[in-house]
Symmetry: C3
Subunit: 379 residues, 3 copies
């Protein structure tokens, strides 16, 4: 690592390597960068840490953070521009004890990893067990991601899009327990010229009828007097360009729906240009199916034509929404205020705790705001 | 309607609400129209009424109708053109007693609503409990829908597309019981210049392996001697342009498949123009996954190249079709006749009653035309 | 085939049916060809045969083959060019006894069929019971498929795409048991000018967490010393253009994901041309949801930018991959070798047998490589 820094320094270029003296950083071997990435343009530190257990379910919670103190689920939203190469050094601060609890097969290795969708990486940055590209407790490892641009010559489709990154090791070969615990985050790769949004939110739809591992009241914890945008508080001023990175994870199918707003089913959610045949061929939708591993982008103009208010954002699978898989896009007026009457929605927010619903979708379990009969909501 | 027209004439302004002397019509407050809708271009009355119980399952059935006498499930297919603003006054003729039976939480309000996908509306027309935009038994309320056109300047994607409308209140916050009972219908918004079809059918794929809440013989009740197109009778003459509004609702995933026909996966199901790169990039499909809340349009030319006959239209999820989630597109010849041999299909139509199959998809239940073993069809 | 050609030559007309002296071939009646197909351009024989039972699950296995000896599951990958008309004579060599075992309703006819997606056929080639277009044991029948080209005049969308064919009769009206036993295969229809791939693989994602009816070790049986591409061995040299025909079948939803590679969500997986607005609107993805009956094409350049290695290809539904719904794209270097270290992946390949997991997705069953608790992997 020191050598790398010196090399960059002497060359008069972007010396962005952060040093971490406490851990051994496993460097990818020479040549283990994706073709097109001569050297990283940027370096980041990423920490996998243990967070307080879920206040509702008591499940173990892990998070990624650019610092240990800011770790969260979802992890930090990453942004790249096509052409950029990023080196991320992952520091595993999750204890072996905790990782042991998350596996049931004692021969499975203990570690965490970064597996990323969409961008390019070699086997050394795959984040899988078979490639050895994971990080034991207390150790570190540098992953290299390359946002390859499109090449019409080779047919390479480019990497601009809405992606996600996640663990692929905790608990088993596919990182199911890492995902379930919180080791995931959004990634957007922009193309040169893409318009940047005013706000970006991540909505990972997952098991137990959850949005970012929360549901019911926990999925919309906005303080309406002083809303602070966060993983469970989606707020925008009317006219702002709001971008959602929509992610599917876990075992279940979901559909992503927002009231009052729609988007074009394109790479970004927006149609560029005025070519009539093209414009005319693109579906505009307000509800989209996603399965685990899927990710897509939705760009909307907050309150466009429909005005401010509490716009529901929920899974349209009825028993999912009934069990609390719903949150809100709070659209404020031009002055940043919610018009009168808006607060009444609080009365009807679904407050089903996460541990009160089934984790298997096929046999919907008890719960839901209007139901004492477990099957009343969907039979 | 006549009165409404007079009002508009005399007042010379946008107070175009149709009056109904028997009920109190809750008008949206001033300014509660989506931006771009200065005044409604058209007004409609819509009635939510109780229909006879399902003959097979004995479930409560509700329907929307432009008159109380014509209420049905699906409700009337609505059609708009981009730029149009529509005012719909919903009259709730469903009794409090019936609505009470459909909820299990006694604090949930009794009422029905209109929630629509795709077009623009303010919170006052959201059709949700938190916005107070629902209709108590015996009352009425006017909803305003605006088919906003595309604006390349603002990036607003336009509202042309295949949508649906449904209750969002009956039984619980998400209207699950309203949907289950029949309060849903299709909406198509056309762009200026869109070719109009010869026939439009709605196929809402829902729970209990149902198409428009029917399955097996009930999903294809065509009188072959004198077929009358309807919610359970899809018929077309060869060469006719047939449009399907495909809707997903309920808790389950489905796939929409028709034999012998395919369509382009675009906004309308048709590719416009001859731009080679565009034409070449659009997938042509004959099977499409949909989840609850999804809606899309399929436009086909009946019998194109394949001729007349009984073309199966079914969910391709095998245990769904085995349990009766199948109907038929009956394509007649140029003379409006079915060629000889066509009637034999009646012998093999799946006649499983709707109450004989499981409502939970994950554990497929007994039934199906060829199976006495409940699991024989999907193991 | 030779005889058929001679017949055509001598007769100078459309009597291009291949003869098979051992069985009765039911010819489609005159005029029973899809419009546009004057006479078949090509004839093939197809055999439906019984194969050895599944070594893991002991299930009955059937296969299609261009010869009885080469029958397999998936069946032979079919390829057509738009404009081509193909006559396929299906010979049913599956015994009545075996077919009887696969039905539970004794009135359901015994037979096999060819039902195809995407291309054009008349009712006589529908492969269904109601149309009588199936083949009793020991009999034969000729099916005619027409790869109709696009017509911008009529709006006919063309048939180029990634499709599949399958039985629609075995066991019941929808052929569920035929599919479950192995009677399915891929079909690609190319447009004039489409670039042909170096390799084509079929991945049918189906029930019991299976890829082509296999899972775990059975889904990746490559001999790494001497890999022979096959239904369970996906191998390519770096830079090769690899095409996957992705098929969904059975009862369950899946998501198709490959590590390190992505594709454009177009008809072929590739974007043609340089129109900026078009290129910019097309999502690039590395994970796609598919339900039963869906099919699509994925074209990638093996190892593009990411290099050689063992690239996981799996369903991203976590409990599916945990139960063994995973295989590998083995990308070799320029010399056709796997770089050092590659073999270590063998240690961690999931070896769960197919009969050890649940067939109902909603209640995930025991199994998985890292789990002794049946629910550990997805709770």
């Amino acid at each position: 690592m020191v050598l790398a820094v010196l090399l960059v320094t002497f060359a008069g270029a972007g010396t962005a390597f952060a040093l971490n003296n406490n851990t051994v950083v496993t460097e990818a071997q020479d040549g283990a960068r994706p073709e097109g990435c001569v050297a990283p343009d940027r370096e980041l530190q990423m920490y996998a840490v243990e967070l307080p257990r879920d206040p509702v379910t008591n499940q173990i919670r892990l998070g990624y953070g650019l610092t240990p103190e800011t770790a969260s689920y979802p992890g930090p939203t990453m942004e790249m521009i096509e052409g950029e190469c990023l080196a991320i050094t992952l520091h595993n601060q999750v204890s072996a004890e905790t990782l042991s609890q998350l596996r049931t097969n004692p021969t499975h290795p203990l570690g965490v990893s970064l597996h990323v969708h969409g961008v390019k990486y070699t086997q050394d940055s795959d984040g899988t067990v078979h490639s050895g590209s994971f990080v034991a407790p207390g150790q570190s490892r540098t992953y290299t991601w390359y946002a390859k641009p499109r090449s019409s010559r080779t047919g390479s489709p480019g990497t601009a899009g809405y992606w996600w990154y996640h663990d692929h090791v905790v608990g088993g070969t596919h990182g199911t327990q890492g995902l379930n615990s919180g080791l995931f985050g959004g990634l957007v790769v922009r193309r040169q010229g893409d318009v940047r949004p005013d706000r970006t939110y991540v909505t990972a739809f997952g098991d137990r009828q959850s949005i970012n591992l929360r549901r019911g009241a926990a999925a919309d914890n906005c303080d309406l007097e002083n809303p602070v945008p966060g993983p469970a508080c989606f707020v925008a001023k009317i006219g702002e360009r709001v971008e959602f990175i929509v992610i599917g994870m876990g075992d279940d199918m979901h559909t992503w729906h927002v009231h009052g707003h729609s988007w074009a089913d394109t790479r970004t959610g927006v149609v560029v240009g005025d070519n009539k045949a093209l414009v005319d061929s693109i579906p505009v939708i307000d509800n989209k199916t996603l399965g685990p591993g899927d990710s897509f982008g939705v760009t909307i103009t907050a309150g466009d034509s429909v005005g401010p208010g509490h716009w529901m954002l929920h899974c349209h699978m009825q028993f999912h929404s009934d069990l609390g898989m719903a949150t809100t896009l709070h659209v404020l007026d031009e002055n940043g205020q919610m018009p009168p009457g808006g607060h009444q929605h609080r009365e009807v927010v679904n407050r089903t705790p996460l541990n009160n619903g089934g984790s298997t979708d096929g046999a919907p379990a008890a719960g839901g705001d209007q139901s004492t009969d477990p099957h009343a909501g969907h039979r």
